[in-house]
Amino acid sequence: MTEEPNPVTQRFERFKEHKFIILVGSTILVSLFLVGIALSLYASSGAAQLDLSRVGYKEVRDKADRGDTFTGFPATGKIDKESLEQFKKLYDTQAKQALNFDSFGGTPMTDEALSLTVPAPVIE
């Protein structure tokens, strides 16, 4: 009398035969999943907007400030006339740069600037 093969055992045997392919496939799936999460974070966190290595920013890439030259005001130490003057001087230097420029101002996107208006008829 022959025993009927157990379907679970059969499946397990098939798994054992192809375990390398299953390992490679599952590794690829996990990698794709993690890359998907990373790209989603890149897009949603705002990092994409700051990434000057993107296509379209080639001409301005070299003009980015490195931003590591300003050391700031020390968080420790006593407060006296000298330290207050030091802070004011540091703050005024940075504030001057921030206040002397109208960021994202002007009218570069008006219909006139982009030539998207019908020109007014010339009255003779």
């Binding site: 379209g56 980015a64 700031g72 802070f87 703050y91 940075q94 504030a95 994202f104 982009l114 208006t117």
Partner: protein
């Protein structure tokens, strides 16, 4: 009563009509002629927008660093140092928190603007001139929001500086 209601509805309808006409007069209507103008000039407009997109990206990085450094390298350490010396900080922490909040708004406004600009640049403006124009209008509005956010940041920078002077004068009085 009926006569009164009829008169009121006539007045309201007239006012609504005037408002509609006034609004329409502020914008050029989207006529066939206008669509053709947009179609004819949109390639040049796209080049201009592309250049603006790049320069705004650079501006965002540089200004962003500046705004960040004012918060992290000036406001925060100064507040902390005052706290460590057990000195009355007045409105300085409140203004710093307001600044950080406005900085977050600036970042998110810029993100929305940049996404809108990218979508606008991806539109085939010769095939979809009206869609392109609508996208330009939307992007323009979002850019204005970024500008408004940066103006608020500048306001907080001024306020903090003024409050530092208030603190300094009080400190001087106490020291004397």
């Amino acid at each position: 009563m009926k006569r009164y209601l009829l008169l009121l509805s006539l007045v309201l309808a007239t006012l609504a009509g005037v408002a509609t006409v006034a609004h329409a007069e502020n914008e050029q209507p989207m006529t066939d002629e206008r669509v053709e103008v947009i179609r004819a000039n949109c390639k040049e407009a796209t080049v201009t927008l592309d250049r603006l997109h790049a320069s705004d990206g650079l501006l965002r990085v540089n200004r962003g660093q500046l705004f960040e450094s004012i918060s992290t390298k000036l406001m925060t350490p100064f507040n902390n140092r005052l706290n460590a010396n057990q000195l009355e900080r007045g409105l300085l922490p409140t203004i710093s928190e307001e600044y950080v909040s406005r900085l977050d708004t600036f970042r998110s406004d810029y993100q929305e603007y940049e996404k809108s600009m990218t979508r606008t640049l991806a539109i085939d403006c010769t095939r979809q001139p009206v869609t392109f124009y609508d996208a330009v209008v939307e992007t323009r509005t979002k850019r204005q929001k970024v500008h408004d956010s940066s103006v608020l940041l500048q306001d907080s920078i001024r306020k903090y500086r003024a409050e530092v002077d208030v603190f300094a004068s009080k400190f001087k009085e106490v020291a004397e």
